[in-house]
Amino acid sequence: MTPAPKTPPLLEARNLVKAFGPLRANDGVDLTVAAGEIHALLGENGAGKSTLVKMLYGALQPTSGELFWHGEALTIANPAAARALGIGMVFQHFSLFEALTAVENIALALPGDFDLAALSGRIATLSADYGLPLEPSATIADLSVGERQRVEIVRCLLQNPRLLILDEPTSVLTPQEAEQLFITLQRLAAEGCAILYISHRLEEVRRICQRATILRHGKVVAACDPRQETPASLARLMVGGDIHAVRAHRDVAEGPVRLRVHELSLPPDGPFSVALQDISLEVRGGEVLCIAGVAGNGQSELFDALSGERVADYAHAVEIDGLPAGRHGVNWRRKHGAAFVPEERLGHGAVPMFHLSDNVVLTRHAVDHTVAANRRVLRPGARAIADRVIAAFDVRKGKPDPEARALSGGNLQKYVVGREMDRNPGVLVVNQPTWGVDAGAAATIRQALVDLATRGAAVLVISQDLDEIFDIADRIAVIARGELSAAHAARDMTPEMIGLYMAGMDEAAAQAAGEGGHAHP
């Protein structure tokens, strides 16, 4: 227990609720941030961290609840109002005009008239002062991601913030850049600025934060001093100790290896893309292998490499039923029995403006002669398959063959998964199968994945949802920063171990896995 502070905290949120339709992204959140502290906000993806900080920054309005600034109740109407109060925010994805210079970008965010020459001087002094060297006249397009982040931070600092919110600032930084950032943050805190720090990296949080508030499913589940915790205990708080008992596993027949990835490495293909490093895995017929991980750690890059949307450097990097597939594209892999369901259903798994039947043609035209033959599209065949999928997966729709974008997320996801299931593939790779899908649709999809494996297929599921993973996985591996951990039997894995792997602490996790194995022989 801490004694009640004499002065009111810098910022206090009481019972904040933010509802999006039936979903309560924040459900009665309490938060206090004191001047001069570095306060971590922890939680899984979808736990409500971003929603919370967007409300604090005025970008979203709470459905109900109260905000206090220096003890006085107020509403923050918009980001400009937040900045006027002294709240600055650095977003994970930057909001900079690439064609403009650093000083021009900063000037755009400042109120009133500006004098570029004088501003350049202030930027140079301030950035040198805080150890964030920055050339004001540099064009953003020429800057590295770390330097762009400095522009964002300096832009906040120029407004003398009392509270600085950073959303996963180190996710785009090299370790050296991160070190420099920590020094800056500690200096700012020493000067009395409060810092609200969102991160998944538990080591960092333990190192620089004095307090942590942990969200899960939109609620605060714990507030603690991260320095008193271990990464494992923090991970446990994040993912919750309330995970249901792992279901009794099917007796998996030891089928042949149907999908093998061998030392797959790919460079990043954009500034926010992650490099894949030396990924190896095997999925046998009859089993479900789940890859856990926090978003942005290489999942979509891995999916693209498995599907053949990006081909690998050498043929044996990916093997399907023993055939080298690494140098072949997506349709070759489909012809050899593989099927794929990407994370983004609208615009990747389906063309939004196309009817459901045309979206059958999208992934079937090379493998199904009832859908396309002699370079022609066979609409009756496509329509028949669409109807079959709609019936099998209970896809709810307004009219017979609507455009894909007219379907709700859950129904379209059932359709996109069902479209591939309908082929009865030997290898299925799914990325985030139930992301943003209601519970009923999620259950249908998970059941279908397990059933497919039972029929002898190799099923690879990439997911952020630990409940889902423990529900369906036979084996679990974790992806972090483009590297894949060893896969362990699901019965030997705990949420804590997954948390350690997510934090990149493989040895500790592997050790825990070994102990787990002994504990449950």
Binding site: V330, M353, V361, L362, T363, H365, A372, R376, V377, R405
Partner: protein
């Protein structure tokens, strides 16, 4: 206040009602312009839109004018469906005309059926090769094809001008910038004003209709135009599609250019700025990027040319009025197309 509300699906009705509404609005705006110019609006509109249709010779001329617009327009419709923006059909048209025109200049004695085929093929080749430049620049260097294809129009216009004033000029033409007159098999067969180009336009529209609606190629181009990521997931190559649509639209524009010089002017003349390649952009949109729709749109825009001439002759208005009408029409089509994806709703302030 009026608000735009996004529809769940595209409205089929407005796909085709939008150009009709745009045409009505253009006629109203045209009436206002005539009134401002001191011409009785009804008489002006009659002269512009109706009088060119009144006699047989004019109707033939209308079809002859529509032929290059349709030929280029169907190619551009395919291009724009794939979300590839070839704005330089005018240049590909001129390139085709220039290459076809080399034959009569250097082989004036070549007189059998093969010369016609060779000239038409050279026209196709000229347009196709000129279109490959912006395609390659986009694929290799991500250069914006809108800018490169447009700039290449001016390049080929200057090259054409230089050639016709220089090496290709007819030495007996009293220093006029024109080549020898094409003769015999170097001239397209014609029925009155209508030359073989109209037949090519009809065939191209029908073939491309089948390709776009029935064939996998059309499916591929629509997928790429609508959702490139999903198209990649389907295994379609964006690079190949860019080359394909530039090749098709360039070849057709080049063919139109060859037909124009072989069927209408029957020689190369400078300056040569028919603007068919630019007007065909309007044709493609007015025709809903549908090859059959493009036939009707081509006829309508041909009418706007004819109307411009009629207005000049009988109303004493500058024939630039045609460009004004064309511009207003494109403006209204693009505005009305909003209704395909949105509906307008009145909402009280609250």
């Amino acid at each position: 206040m009026l608000i735009l509300e996004r529809r769940v699906e595209r409205a089929r009705l407005w796909m085709w009602a939008s150009p009709v509404l745009a045409l009505v609005l253009t006629i109203i705006a045209g009436g206002i312009i005539f009134a401002l110019a001191g011409v009785d609006p009804l008489h002006g509109l009659y002269t512009y839109f109706i009088s060119p249709l009144m006699d047989g010779w004019d109707r033939e001329k209308l079809i002859a004018k529509a032929a290059p617009l349709v030929l280029i327009g169907v190619g551009l419709a395919v291009c724009y469906t794939a979300n590839v923006w070839n704005i330089g059909a005018e240049g590909q048209f001129v390139a085709g005309a220039l290459l076809a025109g080399l034959v009569p200049v250097y082989f004036s004695g070549w007189q059998d059926a093969s010369v016609m085929a060779v000239m038409l093929l050279l026209g196709v080749l000229g347009g196709l090769l000129w279109a490959m430049i912006p395609a390659a620049l986009r694929v290799r260097f991500h250069a914006n094809e809108i800018l490169t294809s447009l700039m290449l129009v001016y390049v080929v216009r200057l090259a054409y001008d230089w050639a016709v004033r220089g090496p290709l000029r007819d030495p007996h033409a009293m220093n006029f910038p024109k080549t020898v007159r094409f003769d015999g098999w170097q001239v397209l067969p014609a029925w009155g004003e209508i030359h073989l180009g109209a037949f090519f336009a009809l065939v191209a529209a029908l073939v491309l209709y089948v390709v776009m609606v029935k064939m996998l190629k059309g499916f591929e181009l629509r997928a790429l135009g609508s959702s490139p990521r999903a198209a990649r997931f389907a295994g379609f190559s964006e690079h190949r599609a860019v080359y394909f649509v530039f090749a098709v639209s360039g070849a057709l524009a080049g063919l139109a250019g060859a037909c124009d010089v072989m069927g209408v002017s029957r020689q190369l003349q400078a300056p040569y700025e028919p603007n068919y390649g630019f007007v065909a952009i309007i044709v493609a949109f007015l025709g809903r990027l549908n090859p059959i729709g493009v036939i009707f749109a081509g006829l309508l825009l041909a009418l706007s040319y004819m109307g411009g001439e009629a207005a000049k002759v009988s109303l004493g208005v500058s024939d630039n009025i045609a460009k004004v009408f064309q511009g207003i029409l494109l403006f209204f089509i693009l505005a009305c197309d909003t209704l395909i994806l949105y509906r307008i709703r009145w909402q009280g302030r609250g």
